[in-house]
C-alpha cells in the first residue's frame, strides 16, 4: 500500500525571511535587514538540507518553492547552490517544478534571468493590484508600470508565470474590480492567485482597524459580489478555480501548493518554515526557529535550524487532510480520511449536503460553488466534536 504522503508527492519549501520593507497586511515571517551575509546563508541552507536528507533517503523530489519574505532578494548563487544541493540529495522528478515568489520591482526584475539560469522554472509575482493608489495603500514598493514591466520580463525568462492580486480592498467597487480583473486576465498566463484582503492579527492593518482608521472595507454582501465577479470572469477566461483563491488553466496548477492541500509531504527549511514528513504511519510536524539569527545559530551549531518536531496524533493528521483538502475543487477522499483515523460527522454531512454546501460522489467529498465561500463554517460542522 502506498503511504499517505505518496498520494500527493514530496516537495521542498525554502523560506527566505528578508524583505526590503514590511507590508501592512502581511503576517508572514519577514524581517527587514540590509546586512545579509549571503554566502553564510547559502552554506546554512545546504547544511539543513543535508541534515534532513539523511532522514528521508531515496525520496523523489517533485517540487521546490522559494517563499518568504522576499526570495527574489536572494543572491542567484545562493538559489543555484540550494537547487543544486537538493537535486543531489534526493531524486529529482523529470519535471521538477521550481517556483520563486518575486517582487515586481525593476531591481529584482533585472535578476529574473539569473534566477532562471539557476534553475527556477516558475515565477509567482506579487503584483497585488493594477492601481497605483491601491498599491500605495497596500504599502507596496512598486507601481503599476514597474509591475507590468516585471511581468513582461518574467514571461520572457520562464514558461510558467503566475501573479497575485489582492481584492475586496478599501473603497473598491464591483465595477472597479471588474475592470481591474479583466485587465489582469488579459495579462495572465496560466495561473492567477486572487485573495480577498484579510485583516490578520498583529499586522499594521489590524492595528489601524482596531482604532477605526481602516475605512471602506467591503461588508459581507459586497465581498460576496466581488467573489462572484471573480468566479464568473475567471471561468469565462478558462482559468478554473482549483483552490479557494487559486485559478489555473487545467494542468498548470501550482504543483507545490497542491502538496499542502492534498496532504503530501514537504520539508520546510529556513527561519519559521513548517514541514510535514511521514515515516511509516507517523507524521511529523516540524517547525524551524523563527528569528533569523537564532535559526542561523542553531543551524551552525547543530546542523539544523529546526526548533521542534512532533508526531501528530492521527486525529490531527486526519483533520489537516480535511481542512486543507476541502479547499481544492477536487475535495477529499473519505476513504483516505477514515484510514487516517478521522471521519466527518455523519448527521452534519447529511445537513450540509441537504443545504447544498457540499456534494459527495462515491468517497469523494467536495464543496459546491456556494459552499466554497463558507468553507470555515462547513469545517466547523463536519469536523467531529469530541465529547
Amino acid at each position: 500500500m502506498t503511504e499517505n504522503w505518496q498520494e500527493a508527492g514530496f516537495g521542498l519549501y525554502v523560506h527566505w525571511p528578508f524583505c526590503a520593507a514590511k507590508c501592512p497586511y502581511c503576517d508572514f515571517n519577514s524581517h527587514v535587514s540590509d546586512r545579509v551575509d549571503h554566502a553564510r546563508w547559502a552554506t546554512a541552507l545546504q547544511r539543513d538540507l543535508r541534515y534532513w536528507a539523511e532522514r528521508t533517503p531515496g525520496r523523489r523530489l517533485s517540487t521546490i518553492f522559494f517563499g518568504g519574505g522576499t526570495p527574489s532578494m536572494m543572491a542567484p548563487e545562493t538559489l543555484a547552490a540550494v537547487i543544486e544541493a537538493a537535486r543531489g540529495l534526493w531524486t529529482p522528478a523529470n519535471d521538477l517544478e521550481v517556483t520563486m515568489e518575486a517582487n515586481p520591482t525593476s531591481v529584482e526584475a533585472d535578476r529574473f534571468a539569473a534566477f532562471a539560469d539557476a534553475g527556477v522554472n516558475r515565477l509567482s509575482l506579487g503584483l497585488q493590484a493594477l492601481d497605483d493608489g491601491a498599491l500605495r495603500r497596500l504599502g507596496r514598493q512598486h507601481d503599476v508600470r514597474e509591475g507590468l514591466a516585471a511581468l513582461e520580463v518574467s514571461k520572457s525568462v520562464v514558461d510558467r508565470v503566475s501573479f497575485d492580486l489582492i481584492y475586496a480592498r478599501q473603497d473598491q467597487t464591483a465595477k472597479a474590480w471588474e475592470t481591474e480583473l479583466r485587465q489582469a486576465l488579459d495579462l495572465a498566463g496560466e495561473h492567477l492567485s486572487l485573495y480577498q484582503l484579510t485583516i490578520e492579527p498583529g499586522t499594521v492593518f489590524a492595528r489601524r482597524a482596531a482604532v477605526g482608521k481602516l475605512r471602506g472595507l467591503p461588508d459581507e454582501d459586497r465581498a460576496v459580489d466581488l467573489w462572484n465577479i471573480t468566479q464568473d470572469l475567471c471561468a469565462a477566461a478558462g482559468l478554473t478555480r482549483y483552490e479557494t483563491s487559486n485559478h489555473a488553466r487545467p494542468g498548470t496548477e501550482a504543483r507545490h501548493n497542491l502538496i499542502y492541500w492534498r496532504g503530501g509531504d514537504w520539508l520546510g527549511v529556513g527561519p519559521g518554515a513548517h514541514g510535514r514528513l511521514s515515516f511509516g504511519t507517523a507524521r511529523l510536524a516540524t517547525v524551524a526557529h523563527r528569528a533569523p539569527g537564532t535559526w542561523l545559530d542553531r543551524n551552525e551549531t547543530t546542523g539544523s535550524g529546526t526548533e521542534s518536531e512532533d508526531a501528530l496524533p492521527p486525529a490531527e493528521v486526519a483533520e489537516e487532510y480535511l481542512l486543507m483538502g476541502l479547499r481544492t475543487r477536487d475535495g477529499i477522499d473519505l476513504g483516505r480520511l477514515r484510514r487516517l483515523g478521522g471521519d466527518v460527522d455523519a448527521s452534519s454531512l447529511g445537513r450540509m449536503v441537504e443545504l447544498g454546501m457540499v456534494s459527495t460522489s462515491g468517497d469523494r467529498l467536495r464543496t459546491t460553488e456556494a459552499g466554497a465561500l463558507l468553507l470555515d463554517a462547513i469545517l466547523a460542522e463536519l469536523s467531529p466534536i469530541e465529547p
Binding site: Y13, F28, G67, Y195, Q196, L197, T198, E220, D221, A223, V224, W227, T244, S245, N257, I259, Y260, W266, G268, G272, A273, H274, G275, R276, A285, V287, E316, E319, E320, L323, M324, R327, R351, M352, L355, M357, A372, L373, L374, L375, D376, A377, I378, L379, A380, S383, I385
Partner: protein, 600 residues
C-alpha cells in the same frame, strides 16, 4: 437555671442594606466582651460567603449578650439579626414576633430607604418598642437633624431621643446597650404553663443535624425533653440545648422570654417550619402560636446543567441545598431545548440568585437559567383551578376560562428628579398608582403591580433610570384576573419551549417584537436564513428573519498555515459546545436568559 424575666431584653435591628446593621451588631457584642477581641471577625453574624459578599442576611442569626447596666444588674440581651430582604418577609415577621423591640438603624448620611420602611412596618405590626439609632455619625456628610425629621415624617415615630452612633468608631455603643435596657420592655411569660416555644429559624449542621432556633413563650425546655412540633405532629428527643455567644454554648434549660437553640437528631430542615409551635409531648399545649404559615415559592425558573452529563451531580447539589432550605422547591423538568434539569421555586429573585450561585460555586456546575416566571392560577372551563409554574405547561386555550396572576404592592422611594422616569416605568409595567407622597426632596410612590412584570428585570431597570438612587420593596397582595396569554417563540418554525412566556394580551405585540429582535442579535447566523417568530396560539404576532451567512472562508492557507488553521477550527468547535442544538438551529445557552432582558 432560667433567667428572671425582668432581666431579659430581646430585640432585633431594622436597617437598610449598607446602613451598618451588622457592624453595629459586632460592636454591641464587642462592647460586652461576649466574644474575645481576638475572635472577632468582621460582621460575625453573617456566616455564609454569599451573605457576606452581598452584605445581606439570609438566615436569622442570634447572639446572647450579658450586659452590666447602670443599675448594677446584669441583663441578658438577645439580639436576633433578621433576614434583611423582602424575599424573606415571612421569616422576618417570625423573627420580629420572637422579640419585643427593635433598634431602627438609619444611615445619617443617607436617610430612610424603602427597605427600612418595609421592615419597620413589620416591627410596628409586631408591637415593638422602637429605638431610633442614627449611624455613621462620624462622617462629614452626616445630617442627624434632617434624618430625625424624616423618621418622624415618613415613619411617624418620635425621633427626638434618637441615639447618635458610629459603629465604626464605637461612639454611642454603650448608650445603645443602656437604651435597650431602659426603653425596651421585658418579655412576658408563665414559667408554670405548658411549654410553648416558637420555631424562629433552623438550619443544617453536618455534625449536629438540624439546629433549631427557639423563643420560649411559656414553660421550660430542658435537655432530654421529648417535644412535639404542632404543625406536623412529629416528636423528637431534645439532645442539646444552648445559646449563642455567638459560639454555641450548651446550657441545661431555657425559660420564658429566653432565646436559644435545641438539637434533636433531626435530619431535614424541611421538618422544621419557621413559625411552628414546639411543646412537650406529654402535658403539652395544643394551642398553636398565631401566624404560622408554610412558606410558598412565588418565583419559578428552570435550572439546567450546561453539561448534560452533570445532571446527576446537580441533583445531588439540589438535594443537599434543600436539606437546609425548606422554602425552596424543585422537581425534574425536561425541556426539548435544554434537556434534563429542574423547575425550581423560590421566595423571590434574590433567593433564586442565592441558590443558583451556590450550586455554581459550591458544586462547580455551570447552569442555564430560564426566564423566571410567577405562579398563575388557571381556571378551566370545568370549574377547576390549577397552578401554572411553567408557561410551557399552559393548557390549550379552548379549555381555559380565565387566568389570574399574582399582584404586589411596591413601595419606591426616589429623589424628585427621577420621579417621572419611575412613574413611566411603573405604568409601562401595568402598574396602578396607589399613593404618591413627598418626604423632603424625595417622593414615595406606591404601586399595585403584577409580579410577572417585576420578576425579571424591574429592579435593574429601576436602578438604571434612577442612577441607583431609588429604593424598592414589595409585598404580595393576592391574585387578580387579567387578560393573560402564553406567547410561544418559534425559531426556524419550531417552538422553543424554554422561551415561552406568559404575557398580558395588550403587551404581547410589544414583548413579542422585543423578543424576536433580541433573539435575532443573540443567535449567530447560520448557512440558511432563519425565521424567528413570536406567536399566541397559532397566530404569529412578531417576526424577524436572521439572514443567512454568506461568506466565511480563510483566503490564504498554505503549508505553514495548517497548524494555525487547525487551532482556529478547535476554537470554533469549542464555541459550538456552548450552543444548544434546536432542530437545525444552534442557540447559545446565554440566549435563553438574555432574550428576556428588555430595554424598556
Amino acid at each position: 437555671m432560667t433567667t428572671d424575666l425582668s432581666r431579659i431584653r430581646n430585640f432585633s435591628i431594622v436597617a437598610h442594606i449598607d446602613h451598618g446593621k451588622s457592624t453595629l451588631a459586632d460592636r454591641l457584642i464587642q462592647e460586652t466582651e461576649t466574644v474575645a477581641l481576638r475572635d472577632m471577625k468582621e460582621q460575625m453574624l453573617d456566616a455564609m460567603d454569599i451573605e457576606r459578599e452581598r452584605g445581606i442576611t439570609i438566615k436569622a442569626n442570634t447572639v446572647r449578650i450579658d450586659y452590666k447596666a447602670e443599675d448594677g444588674n446584669t441583663y441578658v440581651l438577645n439580639l436576633i439579626d433578621t433576614p434583611g430582604h423582602v424575599d424573606f418577609a415571612y421569616e422576618v415577621s417570625r423573627s420580629m414576633r420572637a422579640v419585643e423591640g427593635s433598634l431602627l438603624v438609619v444611615d445619617s448620611t443617607q436617610g430612610v430607604e424603602a427597605q427600612t420602611l418595609a421592615n419597620v412596618y413589620q416591627a410596628i405590626d409586631a408591637d415593638h418598642e422602637i429605638v431610633p439609632v442614627l449611624n455613621k455619625i462620624d462622617l462629614p456628610a452626616s445630617e442627624p437633624d434632617r434624618v430625625k425629621e424624616q423618621i418622624e415624617d415618613v415613619i411617624g415615630i418620635d425621633a427626638a431621643d434618637a441615639l447618635l452612633v458610629s459603629a465604626k468608631t464605637g461612639q454611642g455603643i454603650r448608650e445603645t446597650l443602656q437604651a435597650v435596657v431602659d426603653h425596651l420592655p421585658a418579655p412576658k411569660g408563665d414559667i408554670d404553663a405548658p411549654l410553648k416555644a416558637m420555631l424562629v429559624d433552623s438550619w443544617y449542621d453536618s455534625y449536629l443535624g438540624v439546629i433549631v432556633l427557639v423563643r420560649i413563650v411559656d414553660g421550660k425546655l430542658r435537655k432530654g425533653d421529648r417535644v412535639r412540633f404542632l404543625s406536623n405532629g412529629t416528636v423528637h428527643h431534645v439532645d442539646r440545648i444552648g445559646v449563642f455567644r455567638p459560639p454555641m454554648t450548651e446550657i441545661d434549660e431555657l425559660g420564658p422570654g429566653e432565646i436559644g437553640f435545641l438539637t434533636a437528631s433531626i435530619k431535614q430542615v424541611r421538618d422544621t417550619r419557621v413559625g411552628d409551635t414546639i411543646t412537650h409531648e406529654k402535658k403539652g399545649t395544643d394551642q398553636a402560636l398565631p401566624g404560622f404559615k408554610p412558606s410558598v415559592p412565588v418565583v419559578f425558573c428552570g435550572l439546567f446543567p450546561v453539561d448534560s452529563a452533570q445532571f446527576e451531580d446537580m441533583r445531588d447539589a439540589i438535594d443537599k441545598l434543600a436539606l437546609n432550605d425548606a422554602s425552596f422547591s424543585y422537581e425534574v423538568e425536561s425541556s426539548a431545548a435544554l434537556g434534563f434539569g429542574f423547575r425550581c421555586g423560590f421566595l423571590g429573585l434574590l433567593h433564586l440568585e442565592v441558590i443558583r450561585d451556590r450550586i455554581e460555586r459550591e458544586y462547580d456546575i455551570d447552569l442555564i437559567t430560564t426566564a423566571p416566571s410567577v405562579v398563575y392560577h388557571i381556571h378551566t372551563k370545568d370549574g377547576e383551578m390549577q397552578e401554572l409554574h411553567n408557561p410551557a405547561d399552559m393548557p390549550d386555550l379552548t379549555l381555559v376560562d380565565h387566568v389570574e396572576e399574582p399582584r404586589i404592592k411596591a413601595t419606591i422611594l426616589v429623589p424628585d428628579d427621577y420621579l417621572g422616569d419611575v412613574l413611566k416605568l411603573c405604568q409601562d409595567r401595568r402598574g396602578i398608582q396607589l399613593d404618591l407622597t413627598y418626604a423632603g426632596p424625595r417622593a414615595m410612590v406606591v404601586y399595585d403591580l403584577p409580579l410577572n412584570e417585576v420578576v425579571f428585570d424591574f429592579y435593574d431597570r429601576l436602578k438604571s433610570v434612577t442612577k441607583g438612587y431609588a429604593s424598592f420593596d414589595y409585598q404580595m397582595i393576592g391574585y387578580r384576573e387579567d387578560n393573560l396569554v402564553k406567547m410561544s417563540v418559534l425559531v426556524n418554525e419550531e417552538p422553543v419551549d424554554a422561551l415561552s412566556m406568559m404575557v398580558h394580551r395588550d403587551r404581547a405585540e410589544t414583548r413579542g417584537r422585543a423578543m424576536v429582535e433580541k433573539l435575532k442579535e443573540l443567535i449567530p447566523r447560520h448557512m440558511f436564513k432563519i425565521p424567528i417568530q413570536a406567536a399566541i396560539g397559532g397566530k404569529v404576532i412578531a417576526r424577524e428573519t436572521l439572514s443567512a451567512m454568506r461568506k466565511d472562508v480563510t483566503a490564504k492557507c498554505y503549508g505553514g498555515d495548517a497548524t494555525r488553521k487547525k487551532k482556529l477550527l478547535e476554537k470554533q468547535k469549542a464555541g459550538k459546545k456552548k450552543m444548544r442544538q434546536f432542530g437545525k438551529v444552534e442557540i447559545p445557552q446565554s440566549a435563553f436568559i438574555n432574550a428576556l432582558k428588555m430595554d424598556g
